[in-house]
Amino acid sequence: MTATTTPGTTDTAAVRRAIASTARPPRPRPLSTALTFGWRGMLKVKHVPEQLIDVTITPVLFVLMFTYLFGGALAGSTGAYLQYVLPGILVMSVVFTTVYSGVALNTDLTKGVVDRFRSLPIWRPAPLLGALLGDSVRYVVAGTVILVLGVVLGYRPEGGVVGALLALGLVVVFSFGLSWVYSALGLVLRSPSAVLNGGFMVLFPLTFMSNVFVDPATLPGPLQAFVDVNPISVLATASRSLMAGTPDGTAIAVSLAVAAALTAVFLPVTTRLYRSR
C-alpha cells in the first residue's frame, strides 16, 4: 500500500453532507421510467458496439446467400428474386433478432443489479418494457442494413422510400410484440443457451414454412394452408405490399393485431415472472 498510488478514499464530511440532503423527487411517470431502462440498453451498445455485429452481419449474409445461391434457380434471375425475397429477408432477420431479447434478459437475471431494480419504487413492467424498447433500436439497425444493402444490389421498392420505411416500421412493431414471448421464455428457462435453442427451434420452421422465400402457390395443400395462416407470412405479405406501394390493409391490420395481442398477453405474464424469479 505504501508504494502504489492509493485509490480515492471516502471523505467522511462529504459523505455526511451527501446523506443529509434527503430531498426525494416526485416519482417519475411510468413511461419515462421505461425509457430510462431503454437508455440503459443503449449505453451497453455504446460500451460494447461489437454486440451489434450479430444484428448486422447475419442479415448481410442472408441477403447475399439467398439472392445469389437460390435466385437463379427459384426465380430465373438473381435480380428478379431479390425483388421478391428482400422484404421477406427483412422480416426474417429482424424477427430472428427478437430471440436475443430473451437471451439478454436471462443473462441479466444472474446479476445482482436486478435485485436493486426490484427494490426500487418504480412501475413494475418498466425494466422489461424499457429493455424491449431498447432492443427495438437494434431491429431498426438490422432492418436498415438490409434495406440499404438491397438497394445497393439493385432492389427497387416501388413504394419508394416512404413505402420501405413503413414496412420497416411495421416489422419493428411486430418484432416488439414477439419479443415479449422471448422475454417470458428468458425468465422461465435456466440458461441463455436454452433460450437461444428454444427460440430458434420455433422460429426456424415458422420462418421457412412461410412465404418469405417462395410463393406458396407451388406448395402441397396442407402446407399451403399452414403457410397462409402463419403470422410470419402475413407480416411478409404486409411488408411486401407496403414496399410495392400497394398496401394490403388486411395483412397490415392482422400484423399489428398480433403484435398488440402478444404484448397484451405477455406483458403482464413477464412482469409477474420478473418479480417472482
Binding site: 485509490p7 467522511t12 446523506i19 440503459r40 451497453k44 435485485d115 436493486r116 418504480i122
Partner: protein, 327 residues
Amino acid sequence: MTAGSTLAIEATGLAKSFGDTRAVAGIDLAVPAGTIYGMLGPNGAGKTTTIRMLATIVPPDAGSARVLGHDVVAEGDAVRGLVSLTGQLASVDEELTGRENLVLIGRLLGHRRAAARARADELLEAFGIADAAGKLVKHYSGGMRRRLDIAASIVVTPQLAFLDEPTTGLDPRSRGQVWEIVRALVAEGTTVLLCTQYLEEADQLADGIVVIDHGRVIAEGTPGQLKASVGTGALHVRLLDPTQRAAAARILEAAVGSVVLEPDPAALSAVCPDAGLAALGVGELGRAGLGIAEFSLGQPSLDEVFLGLTGHAAEEPPDATREEQAS
C-alpha cells in the same frame, strides 16, 4: 418489545422455503428506528432471504413483517419508497460506468437529468470514486464497487438501508471505509439492517445483534451481552507437536472453556471469558509438558460464537447459499 411506532422493522414468524430447503424457518425481528442492527450468521443461515423478504423482493411463505409501519406484502410499494438495498452480489450494473449507474438510479427515482447528474457527481466525489467515474464498473476494485453500491443506495437517502454483507471479501482498509459510511448513515438518521459473517463487524457497528442459524434466531442482544454469553474472547494456541493436540484440548477444556480444533492441525482455540483464565490455561499446558509455538487472545470468531451459543460449530449447508441467491 416496545411500541410499533419506534420500530423500523417488526417481523413475526417470517418463513420462506425454496423447494425442500427451508431458508428461513420463522424469524422474529424488532429493529428500533435510528440504530444499526446486525444480523449475524454463517453462509446459508437465511440472512439474505430475510433481507429479500423485508425489501419486498420475495414474498414470505408465512409470517408477517412491517417495515417503517408498512406491511411488506400489502404495502410493498410504500416500503420500496422508503428503503434501499445493497445486495450481497454487487447490486450495480457492471457493464455501465460508475457515473452512469448513479445517474440511472437517480433518473429511476424521479430526478431530472441535470439533478441526477449533479447528485451522481456529488456522491462519486464523496465516496472517492470520482477518478474512476467514467470507467466501466467491471474494472473496479472490490472496495470501489462496494462503495459505488452503497452510493447507489443513497442517491435518495433512504429511511432504512439494507446492507447485505457489505464488507465480505474486502481488505481491511476498504472495510474501514465502508464502516465509516455506515456510521455516517446512521448519524444522519437512517436505520441500518446489516448482515454480516463477522462478529467483529457487528461488534464495531451494531447497537443490537441477532444471531441466525438454520433460518432461526438463536440469540439476540447487544454486542456486550452476546460476547458475555460466549466469553469475551478466545485463546488461540499453536503447538509445536500436532500429535499432542488431543491432550492439549482436554487440558484447555478443563481449565478454560469449550475448545474448537482449527484447520491448522497444530492449532486449537478455547472460548475464554477473561484473560486471567487464558494465562492459567497456558500455564497448565506448560506444566503438562506440551510445547507451545505461539498463543494469543482474540475476539471470538463466528465459529466460537456459534459454539458458545449452540454447542456446534457454524456449518455451511452446501446448497443453501446458492438456493438463496438463485431464487
